[in-house]
Every structure is written in structure tokens, then in C-alpha cells.
Symmetry: D2
Subunit: 399 residues, 4 copies
């Protein structure tokens, strides 16, 4: 791996901001600790795609240029959250004292988040969130700030809400906000604030966020790049990897059963069937796209508090080969959700900041990172990797 | 899938031969039954890569143009062997009566194989094998014949035998044969006979076969194409698929344990540690090439008679992610060895026949099919697929 | 194994009947074919607990004394169903022609079943079913007939229906039937008919059947033995085996996730959440009883048509050991539902017939076979085995 | 669980010693930390069989009566070793500071071990080891001391060495020692020293230890109880649990493949094929005993340094059911070797000390804990549990 992420001082003309929506959550806290640890050379860059030469060549900003901030609804300190992650096995026990001071500094830059149920008028909330971003940029002298959503998953927006009412176009949205309505899901309110503040956006969750057509239009008008959605960290990563093997070997996948167990906060959220709907929909999409036909198979996401920070995916694939021979592949993927997600958050933030620097706009070709890639129907991991590498090469040439 | 494999009469100007060394084995018999069944539309083309549009576009010969023959040391009829495969679950029970007549016809074209321990002088044996091929071609009016080795695995040739003695060059080999010596392993004797008869070769096993430098030289002098070696049907297929995921996600694979259970004839052969050496060596090669560093991990191939025709691979991958988080992937692949191998044999035979038609020579870019791809260090399945597709497109343009 | 099941002519003073409710289903057909094949020595007695010396010593009736009959709602012939089972891998392909004649004879003894939705008054139906049993007994000169329910699972009876209304006691039930009501679920109507005909009963499903208190009372008044319920053939069998290990090793099971995939008819039935409720309730019961505390864990039964006759259970057990060490056990159980159930049906029929011969009454100590054992709170398989062996020894002494 | 292990002061009339051979190893250090932590109520008694009421009723000594000491060849401090275990996930991170003082005290009681290759005459070594034990007893005022072998596994003694030479009887052994020979493997030298010092012995490893007939004779002459051998903590525990299920269900196990991966010190030792022989032999024994027939199946123990303290067993069981149906069970057991072994060491020490108190002699009925139970051919876990419970009840009555 290159060392560009740490040292590259030549390129570091200015400082850049990463603003985490949901900064105090497991993924948020792991991201913050990770950035601090890797740039202080307290940990290797394992897991950071942006440190691979094929990606780093894009001219990505070094981690030493990065300033972290964020929104959150909770008030548990980052230090406390990090301790819980350490006792859950996600973070190495000895690391936290070494980054405690910087962690406290980041904590000092976090601001209260927004929730639809608090009574705060949505228009006022969007203004407030926008101000938070502008102040963060000004106070820290940042050339650009990317806003990354790592907050809890929200329920999907009903499709009928996209064809009539306040979400049909920018003007209708503005009118509704001005009229004291709350037309946006919280994840999209953050995005609107970001766009108004001139910040590009990464949606790491399946929440609506920047995927509402009306917000795509706002991004277009502002000339901003964005990326999403739903980070691909476990079962779907395996599907994107394995399904092309069946396809190119002309093997017929008859069923693919997918069982997911999650312990942490994300698990509890997804125990809510309405929110799970978001997740399950994006999880199912890729398989059919790769195999070219629908595939039978149960898909469950279960909350198992006992599993703590561990995320386990157990899949059973039944397929047919030559002359109808019945065969199977089973796998079990056991990982720490936050340890899988956090480095991708860092990667995406760096890539989107770089894209902003060189003036890219609209949904970026970052399907490699996402379950539900905006602007692409390609779900095969290797093809997504090839696309990423090609794009990084272009960015590296000054794009 | 296209239908080119069955009907394409326009292109079928001449008949072509597929000659199986080890025709009476599990893979051989499944290949024969499969060709007969698919071209009679008694079975779908599942498992045949050569029926996917990206490959079929190479202008591959239809299966109706193919005549089958082969060598074998045993004398169990193909019908008997096929029955055993049917009762082991590899072949559908009802299929055999429907292809019985054609199966008997193929049986009638099989000739006795060659074994070093029988006392037959190797020079005479090579002559005999060559004559068998020439008669097969003449009697059936075949434009070309491809020889595919699906016989039992042989032990590797000691490396010192490649730098001195009768295998160092073609002239030394000829002298040794003339002197009554038996310098070649059996798999390579078949290849020499094939090359002398003007036949291209596919080595589907890890046996030395065409991989001896002296035989590469013979192929060069004859202007023949060839492909090898060691068909990639199970665990290595999974490794070629999964390892790039770890690599492109910057995850550090710390160990990869590989346990293989095999019941059929191949299993018994591989219980012989000397022969297993061949297999294990080619199995280990790819992982290190893809990950860029050696990976610890036991690798066993065990013969379990009770498993019958089933081949099971159980792998345990331990990897490290962000900030040193320890995670794992386990998988179990359960398949019928012959059902996985046979369609690839058909694919390779068609591809090499097409390459011969258009005048390609030397090792062909067919790493997609092999554990130990001749002429390539690329082991990532998706990259091998891309290379195959590109080559097929060229072949399709008349190459 | 002893040979008592086949030959023991000395003991075979009279013929006995096994009447299968759901005879044309997968389990029913496998049971019939199995009895015919084993007694004709066309198959070994593998899977038959009743052939183990510790159980056979009870003086169980030989299979040559058994006459088979049954009820079913469908009209697919046993031969047809058996063929489908053979092509699904449950029955050996070559067996069916050898038992075809006897199979047809059993087919001739099957009678139309009862379904609540057909409009047939329940009182009339019970009379009809009772007559079927009495005629079966008379026409075949049978000393005793046991009725075994292997039909599709029904939804549970709401608990409030047990405390008021027609199910509270025998008199209320009789009045309701006389009044033209249909107070009983179908499974219980069969049981009432059986008891009225003097037949003992085995409930192999989780349907209410003989478990309604009012029917327990009928059995008591008639002095009949019965056994139930819900045959233990897969995941629960494993739980009954493994959970005591954790308990006696003082290991704390924190969660036990249970994922079941079923392809056959039973799978489709259980895709109906109301019926699945029956199954899931009895599945959960044992674990808590053995471990002494409730255990978190998702439990799903999913219908996967592609799996055909195969039933797969995938379990993930997370447990804590010394000083809080986190450890896990995962298992995958892959079997043919009918092949697992059918021999137990035969075992239970023989055991209950023997119990009837020696005059036992009430729920029999057969928890070894059941997920939800009537009359017992013991769920540990080894303890259930010890109880079975002890009881068989008593039966063998003439009880 | 009862609390007898911690408080029972009424019964604690005297102090008792547990002497660990291999005290500085993973199992040794975990045992020491565990005793200190549980008796200080810093950890629950999870994993301690001796705290279950059915076992505690034997009148087992409370942990507060226990003094710890031991032999070891190494000189890494217990504190250092414990730290490594904590960073490997075996011990909770926060625990060590709380027991540091007591841990240092135990460290101060450890003495240099014995190794055959050091040149120390064996007779002198046995005297030295005996003196260590006697001083430990005297200095700490201990009523009894039990010696538990948790050192690295030794190779088995060739069977011919048992029928002629210095190991044939006590007198020959004494003569050989007096003559300056070293007839005993190290594990047995420790046992001889223990017996001479009047100490009962537990052999937790597959090393020869007390299993040499000549040492059985020494124990007999001294009237001492002993227990062994080879603690049952993983795969064999599962076999002892699962195999009876197949047996009592009359299912025919056709093959049982057993793959073990070990990272810690034990793994490295077992990478030595000679020593692995010891382990593999005892592992294979039980399965055949339970099933009543030999069972095909590879069994490997592989050292995988990358796995650290984790021990993983991956088993694949193929079995045949009714009418020959082919089915399978696969499991993966993932645990910390030391966390599984240490509580059993504590249990065995307490049970053997209690047996010594009440005057039991010879091999004790403790097969529940061992892969290769001395004095018993019973390998079924539940039967071993029943035997343990019955014996504990007798001990509790003052035996």
C-alpha cells in the first residue's frame, strides 16, 4: 500500500472537512478513531481502499488534511462510545488512550442533530444544519466539506409521494417548507442543508437521503457531486462477488437464502420491519441484476442483542449444473459491522472531496462501495472495481 | 443462452473430433453422455460456458458436428460407468436409455490406453497412440481432432529432470525413445502422439502432459495450439472469485484453510501423496498471486469413499480489517466433481477446435478454466473472464 | 440390529393395522413404501429405532403382521407420489417396481379424508371416518389398528376456545356435534373417530389432534393409549442433543438462531404464518426447558420450492464460557424430511400397537420421538432414550 | 448454580493445593487467573461444572481453600502470559489489574520443570520434583495437593516398551533410574514424583503420564486416586454428544471428517506429527465405541499461527437413513482452547482432592471430562454425566 494517505504534504495545500451525520454511532465513532489512529501511524491502513495504489493515484487528500465534525441526536461522548466498541472487540484495547485528546477535540465539534418528532419546524432545522456546516468550514478554514450519512436507517418514502405533493419538484418543496410543513425525511433534510451549504454528500445508509428526485435536482442546480447509497459491507459484498461466478460458469442458481444476524444499534433499528424494508429492498436488487433472472430465497435481518457488535451472514445457495446436477454453496461471514463500514466511509469521503476539487458533479461512479449504486445498474464487484480504477486514473490526471 | 451449440448448420461445414484420454472415467463418461444429451435436446445447456453469448460468438463448432472417441486403460463399458454415475446422482436416472445407442457407438471407438508399467516400449506406444488418432480422423472424415486429457493425475516430474537428460530438448527426447527408453510420463506420451498426429491438446488434469518444455517446443514446431492445465471446478474456482474481493477491499487475509473431500476415483488417486503433490502445488499458486503475499493455511485433499461422486470443499478464511479487527469467512462447496468438470471439457474442446480452425498456436488464453493457466500469471476469475470474452470476440471476427 | 421386525413368526399371532391420516403425502407414501421394502428385505432397517435391540425387546409386532390403510384428501396414487419422491432423491430409483403390486393394494384401501371446508357436517364426517376404521379392521381381521396423523399441519386452537364453548368437556362437544356445529379442527375429528372406533392414536404433526383436553378425556374414558406430538426429525432433534452438553458443561448459551428451509408440501403449508405458529411454538419449548432460562434467537421456517424434498436447518449458537469468553457453534443439517419422519412413524405405530396389546392407557412415554411430548417436560434426548428403553423393557416383560 | 465454590466456610477445615505442571502455559495461566477471579467474585462461575448442584453436592472444596503452585520449563511471568491471553481475547481486558497481586504470589511459588534433554539425571529430577511438592505442602499447610498436567503433549510410548525393559514393572523402573537411565517420558516422571510425595494426579493431556502400567501399579501401592486423560474440550466433546443421537436413531454414519485448526502453543506442538499421534489416537477412539463400527474419515490437526488462541473444529458427517437416503450434518465449533480447558482443570482438581479426602483410590469415574477415560469404555457424554452425578452423590454422603 502507498503512504499517500498519511504524508503527501506536497498535495495538501488546504484542509478539508468530513462531517458525519450520526457521528456518535458505532460507524461514526469507528470512523473518527480510525482517521486519528491511521494518520498518527498507530494503526496500519488495512481496510482502506483509498490507500491501494489503483485508487490513491486519483490524488486523494491525505488524512492529515482532514478535520472531522458531525451531527448526532445522542449525547454519549465519542470516548464512551469508543470504549464500548473496544470492549466489543471492534477497536484494539490499547488504542484509545493514544487518541483521547484528539477524540475530545472532535467531540467538541459535534452539533445536535435533527429528528422529525421533536417539533422543530423543518425549514428552521434545515437552516440550522446548514449554518452548522458553514461555521465548521469557516472556523477550520476548510476548502471543502463532505457530509456523510452514517445515522440509523429510515423507512423508505412511499412511491406515490414522489409523483404528487411537496416532493415533486424544488419549487413545491420550498413552498411546503415555507408553509411550516415537514415534507422531507430527516436523512433528506440533512442533504438539503448540505447542498445549500455547497457541500457534496455521501449516503452510506439505505435511507432516502439524496435519492429523492427533488434532491437530485437540487444537487444538479448547485453543481455538486454526491454518492450513494447503502454501504456494501457484508452479505451483499459476497453476492456481488460470487454471483458473477455462477453467471459466467453458466450455472443456474435456483435459490439463495440469506440470513443476517446483527447485534448493535443497527440491528435494533432493523428489527423494525418498516425500516428493514429499506435494507431488504436494496439487498435483493443486485442478485437478480447479475444473474439475469429472479432468484427464490428467504432474506431475513434479525436483531440478536447477544451478538454485540458482530454481524453474521449465513447464506445457502442451491444451484444446478450440467445435466441438472444439484449442488450447493453455503457461507458464513462473521465481521464487525463498524470495522467493515468505517474505512469505506473514509474512502468515500476522500473520493468525493477529490471529485469536488476537480469539479465533478452528479452521482459519482462509486458502485464498488454501495448496495444500491446511484446512476448505475452494474452490481458485479469486479466490474465496479474496474470502473472505480478507471475513474481514479482520470481524476489523477487532473480530471 | 444461445442455441448455437445445437443447430448452427450454416457454420457446420465439416465434422470435428473430440478424443478423450481417460474416456471411461467419471469425467470422460459424463462428457460423452453430456454431449449426446445436450445435442439431442434431452438436457439444457446449463454449465456450458460455450453456450453463453459472450463465448459462443467466437464461432464455436456446434455439438452436432462433433464425433467422440478416446483412449482408456480400463474396459468397463461407458454404459456401465454411466449407470454408476446415475446411481451416484451425477446423471439423471431417466436419461441413459435415451442415449444408449449413441453411447454404444462411442464405446466402439475407444482404444486401449498407455501405461508405463505394462512393458510396452514407449516409442512403440507413441506410434500406436498416434495411429489411433489418425485412423479416428480418417474414418470419421474429421477436419480436426482435439485430444483432451481427463485421465488420473500423475506425479509431477522432478525439476532436475528438466535441466538434464532426455527431456532437455526434442533431439534428446527422440534419441532416448529410439534407444528404447521411456523418458516421458504417460500423460506426456499421449501429448507427443497428439502433436505428431497434428492434433491440438487440452490438459484438464495437473499431470505433466503438455507442460514439459520439450513438448512446448514440439507444439511450437508443429504450429499447434494447446491449453492447460488442471480444470478449475471447486475450491480453486472459489478462491479465484473471492480472493480479489479481499484484495480490492484492502482486507488482509491472515490464513486460508482448505479441506477437500473426494469420493470417486479421483479421490482414491489423490490419496497417493506423490500424486496429490501435483494437485496441491497448482491449488496453492493462485491465492498468493492474487493477494500479493503468501498465506498461511493447511490444505488437504482426503479420499472419503463414503462420499461417492460428491466433492466437498470446506474453507476457513481468517482476515483482518480496519484497526486490526479479526473477522472470518467460511464456506462449504458441495458438488459432483464430474458434473462440474465435464461441461468445461466440452467448452475447452470447442474453443481449441475453433482456435485450430483459425490458425492460433501455442498456449491459448484460457486461464478462466484452469487452476494452473499456461502462459499467464492472472488468477482472478473476473479478469480471466474478461480475457476470454475479448479473445472470443477476436475469434468471432475470423481471428 | 435384530431381525425381529421381519421374521419373528412365533409372536405374530394376529394381524395389526396402521392407518395413516394423510397417506398420500410425502411422509405417508414413504412410510408405506418403507414398510413394504423392509419387510421384503429389499432395504435394510436403517432408521428404524424399533429394530434396535433396546427397543425391539418390548415385543414389538413384526412388520409382516402389519396391514396398511389410510385417509387422504387428494387422489394422486401412491405409485405416482412415490415416483416423485424417487426423482427427488428420497427413495432409491430401483425400488418402486419391486413393491408396485403391494403398493397398489394399499392404494385400494385408502379412503377420502375430511376437510372442514367441504360442507360435510362434522358429526357425519366423524361417523364416516369411524366406519372406515371399523371396516378396515373387520375386512382385514385385525386385532388392533393404530391411527397415525401425518397430514398437513393445522393452525393452533386459540386458548380461549379451551375454557369456554363446545371444547370444554365431552358433553359440550357431543351437544355441538349433534347441533350441526363443527367444533373440532380436522385433526381432532380424526382422533375422535379413532377413539370411538377403539383405536389408539399417534399425532406426528403439531396439529391439535389428541392434545385438546376434551379428547384426552375421551381417550381416558375409552381406556386407550395415545402418543404425540410433532415428530422430532431435524433441528429440534439436534437441540435436544446439543443443549444438554451446554447445560452439563455450565456453558451459558446467549443466543440460538434457527433457520429452516423446506421445499416439499410441508414447506408450502408452513409458509402460512398461522400454521407455522403451531410448529414454531413446539420448536421453541424444549430449549428453554433444557437450559433453564429463555434463550434469545430468531427462528424461521421458510418455504424454498427449489429445495424439493430436502430440509435444511442452519443454526448459530453463541455461548459464553469461563471468564466470559465468547464462543460459538454453527451447524447445518441437511436431510430428506420424509426419510427422517417415515421410520419414526413405523416405530411409533409398532410401539403404540404393543402398548395397546398389553393394555397401557393415556399418553405414552415416547418423548424421544416428539418435539412436544405429551405428559412430559423432559426434552433431553438421552434422558428420553433412557426412559424409552426402560419402558420397552417393562413392555417386554409382558408389562 | 450454587455458591459452594466461593463461600462454604463450614466445610473448609483445611487448605488444599493445586499444582500445575505447565503452569506458565495458556491453560495453566488461564486456570490460575480463573481461580483468583472467581473466588474474588470478579467473574461468574460459568464453565465450572463443579459449581452445578449435581456435582457440587459431592462436598467439593471451596476455591477459597485452594493454594496454587506449579512447575514450568519457561520463565515468562504469569502476568505477561495473562496479558497475551487478554489481548488474544481469552481473558477480559479489565480483569488482570484486579488480580495482579495474587498472580504475582502464585508466580513466586512456581519452580523449574523437568525436560529429558537437559542432561539432568532422571532419578535426581524425580527427587527434585518430589521435594518441590513436599515443600509446597509443608510451607502452605496443605492437607492434600493434586498435581495436574497441563504441559505440552508428548509423543506416545511405543507399545513394545511396555512389555520389555525398564517399564515392565516397578522394580525394573527403580533399577533403571538407579542405574542413571532415563526410562520415563517427562510427563510420567512428574507423576512418579507426585505419587512418591503422596499426591493424586490428573492428566489433562494425551501424554503418557499416569497411563503407563508401571505407574498405575505405583498408584495402587500408594493407595492414591488419579484421573485421566486428555481433556475433552472441543471436537471430541461434540462427538461424544452427537454420536449417540445417530446410534439411538438407528442412522448409519458413513463418514465423519474432522478438521482442527489451532493457533496457540498447543497448535505448534501438535504440528509435530509424532506428538499429534498421541492426540489423534485418543480422538478417534470414542466414535467407534459409540457407533459400534469403524467410521471412515480424515482427521487433521493443523497449526495455524494466525488463529492465535482460537481453536476451530470443522466436522462433516455423512449418514444414511431410511431406505438409504443420504444426509449430512456439518458443524463448526469456534472457541478459545484455554477458556474451554481451564475450568475443567479446576473441576478435576476439586473432584480429585475430594476423592482423596474420602479415601478413593485408582482411576476415578471422570470420563465426562476426558477423551480417553482411564478405567472406562463409555464415551457417550450423557452416560458419562450420569456416572459423574451418581458418583458425586456418593461422595457427598461421605463416600
Amino acid at each position: 500500500m502507498t503512504d499517500s494517505g498519511r504524508t503527501n504534504p506536497a498535495r495538501g495545500q488546504g484542509r478539508l472537512g468530513i462531517w458525519l451525520v450520526g457521528a456518535r454511532g458505532s460507524v461514526g465513532a469507528t470512523t473518527v478513531v480510525g482517521v486519528l489512529a491511521v494518520r498518527a501511524r498507530l494503526a496500519p491502513s488495512t481496510g482502506l481502499v483509498s490507500e491501494l495504489p489503483e485508487v490513491a493515484c486519483a490524488g486523494l487528500p491525505g488524512l492529515d488534511r482532514v478535520v472531522l465534525g458531525g451531527h448526532d441526536l445522542g449525547d454519549e461522548s465519542l470516548a464512551k462510545r469508543a470504549e464500548r466498541l473496544a470492549s466489543g472487540g471492534v477497536l484494539p484495547a490499547g488504542l484509545l488512550p493514544l487518541v483521547a485528546e484528539e477524540l475530545a477535540a472532535v467531540d467538541g465539534r459535534l452539533r445536535p442533530g435533527y429528528h422529525r418528532e421533536t417539533g422543530e419546524p423543518q425549514a428552521a432545522a434545515v437552516d440550522r444544519l446548514q449554518r452548522d456546516l458553514e461555521e465548521f468550514r469557516a472556523e477550520n478554514g476548510l476548502a471543502h466539506v463532505v457530509v456523510v450519512d452514517v445515522a440509523s436507517t429510515e423507512a423508505p418514502v412511499p412511491t406515490e409521494a414522489l409523483t404528487e405533493g411537496p416532493l415533486v419538484d424544488v419549487e413545491a418543496l420550498d413552498r411546503a417548507l415555507a408553509a411550516g410543513e415537514a415534507p422531507l425525511p430527516a436523512s433528506s433534510a440533512y442533504v438539503l442543508a448540505a447542498y445549500r451549504a455547497g457541500c457534496p454528500v455521501v449516503s452510506f445508509t439505505p435511507s432516502p437521503g439524496p435519492r429523492l428526485p427533488v434532491l437530485e435536482e437540487v444537487a444538479r442546480r448547485q453543481g455538486l457531486p454526491w454518492a450513494g447509497s447503502d454501504g456494501k459491507t457484508g452479505e451483499t459484498l459476497l453476492k456481488a462477488t460470487l454471483a458473477p461466478m455462477f453467471a459466467t460458469r453458466a450455472l443456474h442458481v435456483g435459490s439463495w437464502a440469506s440470513y443476517n444476524m446483527l447485534g448493535g444499534g443497527d440491528g435494533a433499528t432493523l428489527a423494525d420491519p418498516e425500516r428493514a424494508a429499506s435494507k431488504l429492498a436494496t439487498k435483493a436488487r443486485g442478485l437478480e441484476a447479475i444473474l439475469g433472472h429472479p432468484v427464490e430465497g428467504p432474506m431475513h435481518i434479525d436483531y440478536v442483542a447477544d451478538h454485540g457488535e458482530v454481524k453474521t451472514a449465513v447464506d445457502h445457495v442451491s444451484f444446478e449444473g450440467f445435466l441438472g446436477a444439484r449442488m450447493s454453496l453455503q457461507f458464513t461471514w462473521t465481521g464487525y459491522d463498524s470495522a467493515l463500514a468505517a474505512p469505506l466511509v473514509v474512502d468515500l469521503a476522500r473520493l468525493v472531496l477529490r471529485a469536488r476539487e476537480v469539479g465533478e458533479t452528479g452521482p459519482l461512479p462509486l458502485g464498488f462501495f454501495f448496495k444500491d449504486p446511484a446512476g448505475s445498474t452494474e452490481h458485479r464487484l469486479s466490474a465496479q472495481w474496474d470502473a472505480l480504477v478507471a475513474w481514479c486514473a482520470r481524476l489523477g490526471e487532473g480530471a
